[in-house]
């Protein structure tokens, strides 16, 4: 089992390196350490013209030993204000990481999905009720300025450790 997961991760690793030019919103997607393909990190870039613009959002990715039967565990390391991300823990509420997971997803595809979740929030299943409530009552200006404030506070370069 565990050698199967390593073989598959190695294939994904090679594919990720090859495709690196084709993903504008994914600055980094790499193993934390070269010799451990079960622990990855990624950096998502906030889309231009969105309230996340200019932000760099770090993700922590843990691959279970029975991947791809089970999905990876992914959380935001950078604090982010988003209806489907827990403000304190960085936990992500995304169906493909839970009930809709299938082994045909790859790490790269999931990161792209998380990146598009940023600009397509789903306020009906919130982990951050305050952000979701602003969207649900249609206060887009309020939502955007809140997101922009937190992006500036936690995700813009000079503030990073």
């Amino acid at each position: 089992m565990s050698s199967a997961v390593h073989r598959r991760m190695l294939k994904e690793y090679l594919a990720i390196q090859k495709n690196s030019a084709t993903r504008p919103h994914l600055e980094v997607l790499e193993p934390v350490q070269e010799d451990d393909l079960l622990h990855w990190r990624a950096i998502l870039l906030g889309t231009a013209d969105s309230a996340y613009e200019g932000g760099r959002f770090k993700l922590d990715i843990v691959i279970p030993t029975n991947y791809p039967i089970q999905p990876p565990t992914i959380r935001f390391v950078t604090t982010i204000c988003h209806p489907n991300v827990h403000f304190k823990t960085g936990e992500i509420c995304l169906d493909i990481l839970k009930s809709e997971w299938t082994p045909s997803w790859t790490l790269e595809a999931i990161c792209v999905a998380i990146s598009s979740l940023l600009t397509n929030p789903e306020p009906s299943s919130p982990l951050n009720c305050d952000a979701a409530n602003l969207l649900r009552c249609g206060d887009i200006a309020g939502y955007n300025s809140l997101v922009r404030m937190y992006t500036g506070k936690f995700a813009i370069d000079e503030e990073e450790e």
């Binding site: 199967a4 073989r7 598959r8 994904e12 039967i69 839970k98 082994p103």
Partner: protein, 210 residues
Amino acid sequence: MASYFDDHGLEDPYKARKSNYNNGRSLNPDLSHFMPREDTEDEGNFSSRFPSASGPGSNDFRRLAEMLGAFRVREEPLGDEAHQEFLDNLITQLMDEAGASGKHGPPPASKSFIRDLPFVPLKDVKRDEACIICNENFQENESKAGITKLPCKHFFDRDCIVPWLELHNNCPACRAEVPSDDPDWIKKKRDAELAKYAAEAEIDKDWMYS
């Protein structure tokens, strides 16, 4: 979101207390210290009853739940109601945790379906086709237990698809459903079918009398 305590520049008493326990990181306790390892256990019925693919830890949770269940039986004559309720809740929660890995998403495929998966000869598979679970090309990877095919005509290595079907009754490539033994799934399926017949009957009636 900023809490009351953040807004007022105070230390959050809950957070301070919680971080003592787990530094705000993993909420899953390491249960391995509490119980014998799997290989030293003489009655190995747990591991055989539940597929190993359901993930590390799930058997540990289950065993802890059983252990607490034994407590409950023993305590019964003495324990008061609140105590009893606490234990019940704890056991339920642990059993939920144990099933959590397979609980998300569709139920397991039926045992008979997994048993009767067809064997597909290598020559029926296209040269450049790969199993989407392990990403290995079928032709280059002959050491495995063979190739099989789901009713939706998607090919998989047998070794790869069986652990998936033991957790979920759909095709990893197209999500097409396969049969399940899960009573809830069977009921839902039957209800959907009845609803379909009812809708058809309704159409027939409209046609006859309009």
